[in-house]
């Protein structure tokens, strides 16, 4: 597991709050020492977009118990920067669309949506 994924896992608060096999939610708090803030940016820490997407994929993995790979980002909107120590709720719903495993997700801080994604996921690791 990468240091980034370890850092994301260490930032989760509480257990999965899934409402069924296709949905899930979890609260995270990325502290000032979180590795993703390092260098992004000096004196102006902002949670990188790729960390936000990686966190959704990791959450979906935890819910499904399967290794998942990000195959595509159909769309993503980053509406408000996420700062250190903010409580971030990640909520997602998975569905099948034209044979593709789609994950719709939102990130919210203080009940306000700060990011929204539509991802394509695939099972299993790629090999060289």
């Amino acid at each position: 597991m990468s240091a980034l994924r370890e850092g994301i896992d260490a930032s989760k608060l509480g257990d999965l709050a899934g409402t069924g096999t296709e949905t899930g939610a979890r609260r995270y708090r990325f502290g000032p020492g979180f590795i993703g803030f390092s260098g992004h940016f000096p004196g102006n820490p902002i949670l990188p977009a790729i960390v936000q997407i990686r966190a959704v994929v990791s959450l979906a993995e935890a819910e499904s118990g399967k290794t998942l790979r990000l195959a595509a980002v159909r769309s993503a909107k980053f509406l408000t920067p996420i700062r250190p120590d903010e409580d971030v709720w990640i909520r997602y719903r998975r569905r099948v669309d034209s044979g593709m495993d789609i994950c719709d997700a939102t990130l919210s801080v203080a009940e306000k949506t700060v990011a929204a994604f539509q991802l394509e996921l695939a099972e299993g690791e790629t090999t060289r």
Partner: protein, 144 residues
């Protein structure tokens, strides 16, 4: 002036700076080079780079391009923020030590926003393609 270290062009710093060098710039297009070390936060125990890194490579390559253009115009590199992604397809896997080239093309630049097409390649293999929207902070504008 080219090639030039990306550290002189973008605000990202290690370990989140993924682009090493801006290699070429031509008419709104640019190519940047990256070699991610085994120690990068993006690599797992086998050296496989997390797929999400491709998105950041495109964003940072565009930032390097913008920073270069700012410098050519006698200004310090400005800031920019990723605000949108569309149709980013990840078709290959990068590994630590791979020489990755990220090509970007400015599709539109309107009202402080830029739409950028990007592709990450390793040799002849395309690892990812997609379109990003970035908000460019005007360093001459007042207020927040």
């Amino acid at each position: 002036m080219l090639p030039i270290s990306a550290e002189r062009l973008i605000p990202h710093r290690a370990p989140m700076r993924l682009v090493d060098t801006l290699v070429s710039v031509t008419d709104g297009c640019a190519v940047a080079e990256s070699v991610l070390p085994r120690s990068t936060m993006m690599a797992d125990g086998e050296g496989k780079i997390d797929e999400v890194a491709c998105m950041e490579l495109i964003a940072q390559s565009y930032a390097a391009f913008r920073g270069y253009m700012d410098r050519m115009n006698g200004k310090p590199p400005g800031e920019g923020f990723l605000v949108g992604v569309r149709n980013l397809e990840i078709t290959g896997t990068a590994y630590a030590g791979d020489r990755l080239l990220t090509s970007i093309r400015t599709v539109a630049a309107v009202g402080g926003f830029a739409v950028v097409e990007g592709a990450v390649t390793r040799g002849d293999e395309t690892l990812a393609t997609g379109t990003l929207t970035l908000w460019l902070v005007d360093p001459d504008a007042g207020g927040g």
